[in-house]
Symmetry: C2
Subunit: 122 residues, 2 copies
DNA sequence: CTGTATCCTCGAAGATACTG
DNA sequence: CAGTATCTTCGAGGATACAG
């Protein structure tokens, strides 16, 4: 009943780890070194503080990100990739590069296909 | 107000294209050549027909997948990657390879971190 | 500055039954 | 076999206000 080739395979884990609106973007935002919470929020743009925190928490939990809170006033908290997290940057870069190269083509296809009624295919 | 480095960049497009529970898996399932609807469902496992169809439709719309319906009885419909869609396989493979190599480490981290109360960090 | 709590919306995804 | 329609559930993510 269960699944053939991917059901419990680790690949699924990774996909689910990244497959939300922000995770990949957050990781990308951390790829140049430690960043503060607010800084990261601005860098990314469009993400709410709550969701950013949630995302970072999950990444921390999964061992991909380290959180370092400085006992200062005002508070300062920096996040950075763990060595494990850093290894995910390459795959993510592949995706962004793909986008840079093929993003236009996707938009074109979208544009063309939207002019045709859904199932009037040739 | 808007965003710094990724807001409208094509990378976001790709992430959003893949960032759902099934898209990457479906693409992966098509990476070996044309597959029939039901075949694909079984191959993936755990996906409902409805969601599979929806996913394929969106991929078709974005120019990543081709749908070929044969006028037979019983009906046969095959899906396959377009050349554009095929270029996405490499990045996706990167992810699955990452998972194969680091999936365990992630689970370990998860395991360790779950024994500590959330914010009692050292 | 950082983080949490609460409320709310919206769409993804599942179950099921039905059509071509 | 392929696909659609309907109903429902569930959680991600946004807004806001507040706390340390």
């Amino acid at each position: 009943m269960e699944s053939p080739f991917l059901a419990d395979c680790p690949a699924r884990l990774t996909v689910e780890l990244i497959a939300d609106k922000w995770t990949a973007v957050v990781l990308y935002g951390l790829s140049d070194g430690p960043v503060r919470h607010g800084e990261l929020a601005e860098l990314i743009g469009g993400i709410s503080r709550k969701v950013l925190t949630q995302t970072l928490r999950r990444l921390e939990l999964h061992g991909l990100v380290n959180r370092h809170a400085y006992a200062e006033v005002p508070p300062r908290v920096e996040y950075e990739l763990t060595p494990l997290g850093a290894t995910l940057i390459d795959p993510i870069h592949m995706l962004t590069e793909w986008a840079r190269e093929n993003g236009e083509a996707v938009l074109d296809a979208l544009d063309v296909n939207e002019r045709k009624p859904p199932r009037a295919a040739a």
